[in-house]
Symmetry: C3
Subunit: 651 residues, 3 copies
């Protein structure tokens, strides 16, 4: 902070209706300027000011960036990655399993918690931030990995066999010979190492949570700020963290969600990130720990967009919307990234719009907080499948998953996420299963049973292809799921961009194409929904549908165009009996529903476009919460450009 | 192998007519699981099974990938390259000149050969695989290189002069000061180092061959699997190996040829790789040690293509067509690469087609094996010119050579390859000489004599430019060959894409262009075939033709379009009196001929297109070997889509 | 030199009118082949031959490339950069602050100077060549930097505050903990380090100049060969050297200017480099130490271009035009780069044209040398702003500056360069200030005063944004200059490519756009020249003009198209009363003027196009110097394609 303006900040926050702030994360070098010398005055100062103003505080443990003196003392604190030893400077450059890092991090956390634990302003703790393994893979990590492997695969013969290490003479015939995985070309071993690296994150967060729980009061929560696969914005499943496993040690899930804005604002990332955050704690509400205010230059919101975004978060089940950051930063790496306030700390259009959000949140919290959602559709994702798929492509796992998610979002079909550890896959009517490249027999058999018992399922290409060790199955493909899908194939190819015979999904010439991948499928019991339009491959099926037991399995054997994928999903949703009133609306008109704390149904209608729109309101009569106006059942509803309405049913 | 199925494999091989398998290559870690502990049971098992089935075996020495324990014991086994020390994992990561590698490799080879040498299934040995120097350039290699230089250039003054080391203060005034070549910017020194690295390969293969010859029986052969410059497929001259020198220690040349397929299948790589393999042992027949069955996803053959490919290999003189690999691999790096069998080991369309190939080979071997070819045209390539040209461009040497090769292939002009070491350049009527950038005076004088004595020659730009040390000649360009070519130039430029004046080759507006390079040529005695169409350079010649002695030299001074190059080559072929009946066919209709063991002429007609074609058969009456049908002289011949006919003349 | 031909060279030089050569630069390994063993015979030989021929010599200290033995003895001579330790081979790979380098360089310089100092052929000395810091940033440099910081910022608390090191826990709480800047993500610290690296260059050149001055005679000069930001040619402000500071130790500025040629020859780089060279010594004439003769293949000059270029240098104030290099080099890295002579040393078209230049120079020197120029327009550049701007973009500083320079060049508006150290900014009528991202308060206040006192100024976006420590200002933007500009903004964005409302600059639809950056400007006292044409941002100003005191400040808040920028500059020039007769000509017709030694006005008219042109000559009657013909006032003047006329006024 270039000059002292705490009082002004607090007063501007109050004016904007801000009732929680998050502090202390990544301030280790301020809090412990020298080895063992602690200074909490900056924390105390803020805690006291916030408390006085009635603003609650989430305190972050400061471990996400290490101080200079620690690296000077123990250079091994910095991770060694496949690119070599890290240099001091960036955040997230440490080896989270290093003993010196752990020793000093623990002391710093305990000192801080000891100091602040009784402060009344604190409502919760955030452990670390956007934690990952950061590619740590030096000797320290390698020796842990060898121990991990030894425990899981006590027999080297068996390990060599399962991982196929004969190939290119990679056999490990003595544990002492185990070479660094950094140079490995064995995708099975690399996938296991990636899994091990994710387990380091789970273990590390559990370790921090345990320390924090020794100090925290029962009413205070522990959270983390998970983030997503980054493609310039929050894009997909996080490859480096097993969110479902890591979230177990938290009281409440927290995420950051960053997304394109202006003409590119769609709400898809808000919905995607929210659905993941809600799902990782079994349907519980979650915190949006960070999202953009002005953000990148190209993300400065148009008038109305900041409000649209904030209420979109709530509609997915968020119980907090917190901006990173309050004011823009004047030095270092991210001066281009703008907060609620610009560098000048003056009220600006973005801040002015935030004030209206604060006011509405304050007024409507009893109606909006703790929204409960009930979805019939689940997307089954898998960190193991992601790693395995990304070893071989085409493209990336998230490039298969996200388009399917987005199409469901565009159709106003609410989804939860499940992963192979989920107990409740069976409660859904329809499961979407993109690119489940690697999976154990047990999961695939479970999915077969799911269909047999009446479930509907949509698989994409490459699903079921390899086992949990990234070993390609020796059975006819797609292996175990071939039974529920009623298909088989033994060859696959990529002939470029080709059509489907006779445009079976009626998408028109421009959209009737597949690309990047095609399996040469023969139906056993399945009905063929589409054949390839190709002189050599025309006899093979591209998309199939099979009745199996009481359920239905649809299999997409190729990279379908968005329009085709949409039609297939539509077919599946109808087949599962889930095509309802909300499906009469399409993006940019988005509807999200849930049950609030009063047990009343709440419907959010969002207009993600620059044009005002009038839609049919299809639910019971209710009250539009922002305006307080009454809404008749089956009436017309006008949505302003980049605007929204929230209707609480009244009956 | 995920489970034991040797008997099934052998039986499926038999069914497909497979009569040779290649084993043991890169299995060092299986054969010697611990230092000095040998286990040959997997080799014995296969040898016995094959022998029982009447399938012959080529055994590879296992040295192409090193075991974990060896690297643990002697880390210096891994090569140090300009990118730093290699890591364990990939194949071909070792320093082939390292004493520890050599010591352990020799022991492993001897142990294996001692064990298998009397087995009756073995017909030959493959030494190592796709051997190169792999960029090895650490201190071990540097000190060998300095010794090599000291022997060749005992005087440092002379070395400094020849290599131009005064430039940028690079003089070496004391052998002890000789810096690592890795950082050198001296293209002469770098070219010499590249040559030295190629000599490491020659020496290494000679060393292995010598060991193997101590054990092998007289009727068994020694081969190697040479590969080509890789551009996603087998593209051009291998920069890292001097094929003609390295092949000297072999009994029979072996190559792998990988090529695009489906709509991109042209046969050009099959022909190119075959011509090189045949030429490297002076016209002897050769083995296709590896080629694709299904291969990359985008290479899965259309129906008929696998047959087309197999017989195309024979038509260039191959005596074996061997697929890499039998079945697809379930783990590690190349699960995407499909063998004859898919991962499911079941008969699939590719395997089914292979069965017909096996059957035909069995039936027709006496007519097809050991085909002898007589070509009148040679392409003169040079490893030295390649390295030198690639230092300065434009583009790469292979990007000059391959288009010329492909045009000759398209015109059905059979070619051999010669290099500067070839004794028999003079026996050809026409020599094509692309980008002979670096060459000793003696070679250029020899080429002048070749023309004087009646030879025809086609040079491209940059030929004759520098001496064998990559030192630009101080004479007027193109130096020595200027005499035979009847031209001179002292300036060259690149004005982008420009035309030739008045479209002299009648290729039409779209094709009448040159690009990337232009020499500002003045004829001395030559006739100008084309001038540049340019306001500043219009007085200079682009392409010339000169009568010199009894012969003709054509010089192409610029980067001509494919259409222009084709016309120039056509001119040269006609001028050399080689334009014959086969030239009435053009790609996709390819004809290849030779003399079989019965002394009869055999003509292969290939249709590299998806449309059936009818052509004029222009040779004597004969028998179509596949069908057994009689063919009249000068009759019509129908070629199915992706199909072929083989006619043995009968008279 | 492949063979001895000094006499021929000298005679060909004489024939071409060459009267100065530059020697010895980067020949350390020839001059001192062994540690302490010196051999000056090659220098003596050339000095004597030149002296005999009446050709003067500039001798370069040989320190720009280090000999092998020095690196062998002291490997630390090679710089360590963020990419790791340098390898031997390239030039400019040393740590210019290394004590061993300095010790040996000093000895070599002193030995050479001691040896040559009395030779009558020498007219001056060039210290080193194209000197930069070459990214040196190893421990040696780091420790110097810490000392430098300690001296400037004795209080770590203050340093942490000014540089914002709290961010991501980067605080330095003890000087011993100061981490290597190589890994730093703190743009303030990185900018300071870049400045420190520039100071190493200044100090190093000063050190060499001081040594040389101990030996040189009063009439001999000291120069350096400065170069420019390289973008395949001399493009912009050199980021690694503070030219104005470094030039202080020289007697005369020297530069190399390399530029596209053939159809891409515009003269802009000749003018840009010349204006910088002239400005760095306060308007003094300068030497073009290197420029291309044939150069890259694509730069071989069309007939007439070499002349056009040579006289263009003179028109900017050059007193020497020297080609790099005399003859083309036969080995090593740059054989593709062609000198006046090709590798064949024969007279070629380029050399033939050079002879006419030499003849004209000889004849006209009294009229052309020491041309004095008086410009009313200055471009204010800043190395500090360059580094800071390049940390954050969009694009690069030079990509903002060069287009503005080029537009002024195209309009025939002569400019000088000034930087923040310049005493004489105030003497100009119009200051162009591109992207002055980082600047101290004092400079911005000075610029406000400049306007108040009657100056005209044109700022681009991002000017005034941060202080001299790359810390964003906490005031409303654009900070201090907001007063003179009469504007304010607190948000900025990038919506892609959008128009300006109602095409205010009348540039037509295709050109009416801005892109990459837009500030959402509100005028306080300014008149809005253009609003954004955008649904959300339409109320904000894009370009403004403000009367402030007696002057005018124009502010461009966005990335304007070339056509718009041109119109704005035209507006500013007119507003400053500088729109004159030369502005009736536009590129490709370029006019440059000055006063020669006779006190007469000289006007150069250049035609940078392939078409002859006739123009109105708007000055007093005079003599065309090349032809000697009389020119009437207000007459017509014909310029050949790629030709020029030089008129000396006579009255």
């Amino acid at each position: 902070m270039p000059y002292d303006r705490l009082d002004s900040d607090v007063s501007m926050m109050k004016e904007a209706g801000i009732n929680v702030v998050r502090i202390a994360e990544s301030t280790w070098s301020t809090m412990e300027p020298q080895d063992g010398v602690f200074d909490f005055s900056h924390i105390d100062r803020v805690l006291n000011a916030m408390n006085k103003a009635g603003i609650s505080v989430i305190i972050g443990t400061p471990t996400y960036a290490v101080p200079t003196w620690l690296v000077k003392k123990y250079p091994d604190v910095l991770a060694i990655t496949p690119k070599g030893p890290n240099q001091y400077g960036p955040r997230q450059n440490m080896d989270i399993s290093n003993i010196h890092f752990r020793e000093y991090a623990e002391r710093a956390i305990r000192k801080m918690l000891e100091h602040v634990k009784n402060h009344p302003a604190i409502i919760g703790y955030q452990i670390d931030n956007e934690t990952k393994s950061y590619g740590t893979s030096g000797p320290n990590v390698q020796s842990q990995f060898v121990a991990y492997m030894k425990e899981r695969y006590p027999s080297l013969d068996s390990l060599n066999k399962i991982f196929g290490l004969d190939y290119w003479s990679n056999r490990i015939n003595n544990w002492n010979d185990f070479p660094s995985v950094n140079g490995s070309i064995n995708a099975s071993l690399n996938a296991e190492f990636a899994k091990f690296q994710r387990s380091l994150v789970t273990e590390y967060l559990g370790w921090q949570a345990k320390i924090v729980r020794e100090y925290k009061k029962p009413e205070q929560f522990v959270t983390q700020n998970f983030d997503f696969d980054w493609k310039g914005y929050s894009y997909g499943i996080q490859p480096e963290v097993d969110h479902f496993a890591a979230a177990k040690v938290l009281d409440i899930a927290g995420v950051d969600i960053y997304h394109p804005s202006q003409d590119k604002l769609t709400g898809a990332e808000i919905s995607f990130g929210g659905d993941m955050a809600r799902s990782m704690k079994g349907g519980q509400n979650y915190l949006v720990i960070e999202t953009e205010a002005q953000g990148f230059p190209q993300w400065v919101p148009y008038p109305g967009q900041l409000r649209l975004q904030a209420f979109s978060h709530l509609a997915s089940g968020a119980d907090m919307v917190s901006y990173w950051h309050w004011h823009s930063i004047h030095n270092s790496a991210e001066t281009y990234w703008k907060g609620l306030l610009s560098h000048d700390f003056q009220p600006n259009p973005t801040y002015q719009e935030a004030k209206t959000i604060g006011a509405d949140f304050q007024k409507l919290s009893p109606h909006l907080a703790n929204l409960k959602k009930q979805n019939q559709v689940a997307i089954l994702f898998s960190n193991e499948a992601l790693t395995a798929y990304n070893s071989f492509g085409p493209g990336t796992y998230n490039n298969v998953l996200r388009p399917m998610y987005d199409l469901l979002y565009n159709m106003n079909v609410g989804v939860d996420f499940v992963d192979p550890s989920s107990k409740e896959i069976e409660k859904y009517k329809l499961a979407i299963v993109p690119a489940l490249y690697a999976a154990p027999d047990s999961l695939l058999q479970r999915l077969n049973r799911f269909v047999k018992n009446g479930g509907h399922i949509v698989y994409t290409f490459k699903s079921g292809f390899s086992d949990e060790h990234n070993k390609v199955r020796t059975t006819i493909q797609p292996g175990i799921i071939g039974e529920a899908c009623g298909i088989r194939y033994s060859e696959f190819t990529d002939p470029g961009k080709i059509g489907l015979k006779n445009d079976p999904f009626l998408v028109g010439k421009a959209d009737n194409y597949t690309e990047k991948w095609m399996e040469l499928i023969e139906p056993t019991t399945a009905k063929v929904l589409a054949y390839y339009d190709h002189p050599a491959w025309g006899k093979y099926a591209a998309v199939t549908r099979n009745n199996y037991g009481k359920g239905v399995a649809i299999y997409i054997g190729c990279g379908t165009s968005t329009a085709i994928t949409e039609k297939i999903l539509e077919t599946a949703i109808k087949s599962a009996g889930l095509w309802g009133k909300d499906q009469s609306l399409r993006f940019p008109l988005i509807v999200k529903s849930g049950i609030n704390q009063q047990g009343k149904a709440v419907h959010y209608y969002f207009n993600y476009s620059a044009e005002p729109r009038t839609i049919n309101y299809t639910y019971q009569k209710g009250i539009e919460l922002i305006s307080g106006g009454a809404i008749s059942a089956q009436s017309k509803l006008t949505l302003p450009a980049w605007g929204f309405r929230i209707i609480e049913e009244q009956w």
